[in-house]
Amino acid sequence: MTADAGSPTGAARRPPAGTAKGKRSLGSRLAEGVSGGLVRVFLIVVGLFWLVPTIGLLLSSLRTPRDLAASGWWEVFTQPSQLTFDAYEELLKNGDITSSLVNTVLITVPATVLVVVIGSLAGYAFAWMEFPGRDWWFLGVVGLLVVPVQVALIPIAELFGEIGLFGSFLGVILFHVGFGLPFAVFLLRNFFAEIPRELLEAARLDGAGELRLFARVVMPLGGPAIASLGIFQFLWVWNDMLVALIFSDSGSQPITVALQTQVRQFGNNIDVLAPGAFISMVIPLAVFFAFQRQFVSGVMAGAVK
């Protein structure tokens, strides 16, 4: 798009020496207008490409199984009367789905809080305490950033089996915390290290001990980084399927696993899958739209993960 629209612009734009910017020829401005128009059309088409799949899911979730089997979701544009909340009503009567939604919350919230708290403690220690080999230990944690979760699946499954954590909420939560910590420590240590020394010294002179310093000065100042980390970890755990697939059982499975079991019979279960998937997306999307800035800065910092 840039290529074919660009060359006429460039040719027309090559000005005689000294031509001011405002005096460009009509032709060059025309060419620019055309290329601007092409860019707009291209971006609109791409935007539709990105929106249509999600809209398809939403509209599919608002139709009856009979309509779904008979025709495509786009038929609702000509027959809006097909729209119905029946599938959602059915879904909320489905005990497996509702309890798995609760399970998702029961897994996600503790896994997020624990990572933030434990990561902050360690991040602060790495940033402001003195102990032998501090920076080497920290580099060791950084090295763990890219360890694939796959490495731990079999060993931890056996470990949890032996100590009776297999299938429990705690097991799933602990696994998420373990693999969330390298990023948490990395992000928070770097952020805490930027806190001006004077602030900490002033608090120290007021007689604050290490724990008080941490709770009253470091944690509040670390707000932006903690928010980024919290959102990142929240979405990561909420959206996880693989870890829960292995470590949860039918009593502790989150929504992703509950829906996954229905995928095998995709065509027959679409009336459960479409609204279920949409419900599972609502919270992450709300978090995403509410905290875009923190999310983006988390993504930036996490580019190494």
């Binding site: 660009g6 971006l43 403690l121 102990f131 959206n239």
Partner: protein
């Protein structure tokens, strides 16, 4: 521990430490702050690495030492080899396509006022689970063009350029003057003569499938020096066949049916039936047999089998790009914001066109960002699991296999933990260069 002298304990005069503890911490306090993190990291991340490494050298029961047998399986087991091959395809294409798209989007959104809204739309899929994305794309890739939007669009484009046939299931009925001519075509049993009226009755087209311009069939009139006739649906609804081989008023003509006159294997004349099914052929067709070519009876084009064995991996990569192009775009846009505008403007004043500015100035300046984005996506793609697990239907999951999926199968449904451990160690080895790079980059920063 011994390395402490290099960083912490003994003050290095060249690099004064600015982050000395303000409280003069005792080591026990530091240990307490670090303990929870170290215990969890040790038990859940470090220990499994060691365990997997050891486990990968033992046989499936875990009792006997197996040497490199499990690693050998990586290259001999059919399932793993397919997974390996697909992983290479993934790692080569998914990150580069996502990064290239991200770059194009980042550059172009700078030129429109609603760039932020566009970025939001493209970035949004990053917030949802791969399971949800998988379900979304199962719907998109549905084979039936009446249900899957990908095939609906594809068939729409295809049919714009290639005429589809109108009578896929039409065939001669009882006592028909037509016989199959091979390849799906039908031909008259007898040669036709000028002045003769030919009947070409067929059956088998569902009423709602008839072309919109089909009218009630009319019996053709004989004409001197020409051949006339009717091609129609010899079937009266409710009564079955009206008059067998005769044109009944309630029966519909095969509007648009192609008819060829064939003499000695050569087409000497051809025509198309009108709305009422009538057609006329010139004298040249005298003594020829009339053939209804196979084009008339082709099955309608049904689109691509997106989730079939050959297309399933590219199709799933497409869904991955949908999820992650936004990630590339946001990081590249941040990099782009740091590019000095004067440089681009100077290149334009020097007579470079927009493509040249992009190719020679923007891209080289962004090279570090592009590298980080691509490497990040490569690590991510190496571990791809959910999308393949959800999108690939059971019938083509073997063809779509990737290492992480194969590890899951071997470890948790085929009871081969030795081989699964070897796969996990292999995955770990692949990310070690990145691990090393991260540590090196940070060591410089930490030492400041």
């Amino acid at each position: 521990m011994t390395s402490a002298s290099a960083t912490g304990a003994s003050p290095a005069p060249a690099a004064p430490k600015s982050r000395k503890s303000v409280t003069g911490t005792r080591r026990t306090v530091a240990a307490l702050f670090l303990l929870p993190a170290f215990v969890l990291l040790g038990a859940l991340v470090v220990y499994p690495i060691g365990y997997s490494l050891v486990r990968s050298f033992y046989d499936q029961s875990g009792d006997g030492f197996a040497g490199f047998d499990n690693y050998q399986a990586l290259f001999t087991d059919d399932g793993i080899r397919t997974a390996l091959k697909n992983n290479v395809i993934w790692v080569v294409f998914a990150p580069t396509v996502a990064t290239a798209l991200g770059l194009v989007f980042a550059v172009l959104t700078e030129r429109v006022r609603w760039g932020t809204a566009f970025k939001l739309v493209v970035f949004m899929p990053m917030a949802i689970s791969m399971l949800a994305a998988g379900i979304i794309f199962r719907l998109v890739y549905d084979q039936d063009p009446d249900k899957g939007v990908a095939n609906a669009v594809w068939v729409g484009v295809h049919d714009t350029f290639a005429q589809s046939s109108a009578f896929p299931k039409a065939h001669p009925g009882r006592e028909s003057p037509l016989r199959p001519a091979g390849g799906g075509a039908f031909i008259t049993k007898e040669p036709v003569r000028t002045g003769q009226v030919v009947t070409l009755p067929l059956v088998g087209v569902a009423p709602d499938q008839m072309p919109d311009d089909a009218k009630n069939a009319v019996a053709a009139r004989p004409e001197d020096g020409r051949i006339t006739g009717t091609a129609w649906q010899d079937f009266t609804r409710g009564k079955g066949v009206g008059k067998l081989g005769g044109v009944d008023a309630s029966e519909l003509g095969y509007a648009g049916m192609k008819i060829e006159a064939v003499k000695d294997g050569k087409v000497v004349a051809s025509t198309t039936a009108a709305g009422d099914g009538t057609f006329t052929l010139p004298a040249a067709a005298d003594g020829a047999q009339l053939r209804l070519p196979a084009d008339n009876f082709k099955e309608p084009y049904n689109g691509l089998d997106w989730l079939g064995p050959s297309l399933v991996t590219p199709a799933i990569i497409g869904s991955y790009v949908w999820m992650w192009a936004g990630f590339a775009m946001v990081l590249i846009a941040a990099g782009l914001a740091g590019v000095p505008r004067e440089l681009l403007e100077a290149a334009r004043v020097d007579g470079a066109n927009e493509w040249q500015v992009f190719r020679r100035v923007t891209v080289p300046l962004l090279a570090p960002v592009l590298a980080v984005v691509t490497v990040t996506l490569m690590i991510n793609v190496l571990k791809i699991f959910d999308l393949v697990f959800i999108i690939a239907p059971g019938s083509s999951q073997d063809d779509a296999n990737v290492l992480a999926l194969e590890l899951y199968r071997k470890g948790f449904s085929e009871d081969q933990p030795g081989v699964a451990s070897a796969i996990s160690v292999f995955l770990l080895l692949l990310v070690i260069p990145v691990m090393w790079f991260n540590i090196r980059r940070l060591r410089r920063e930490v030492r400041r």
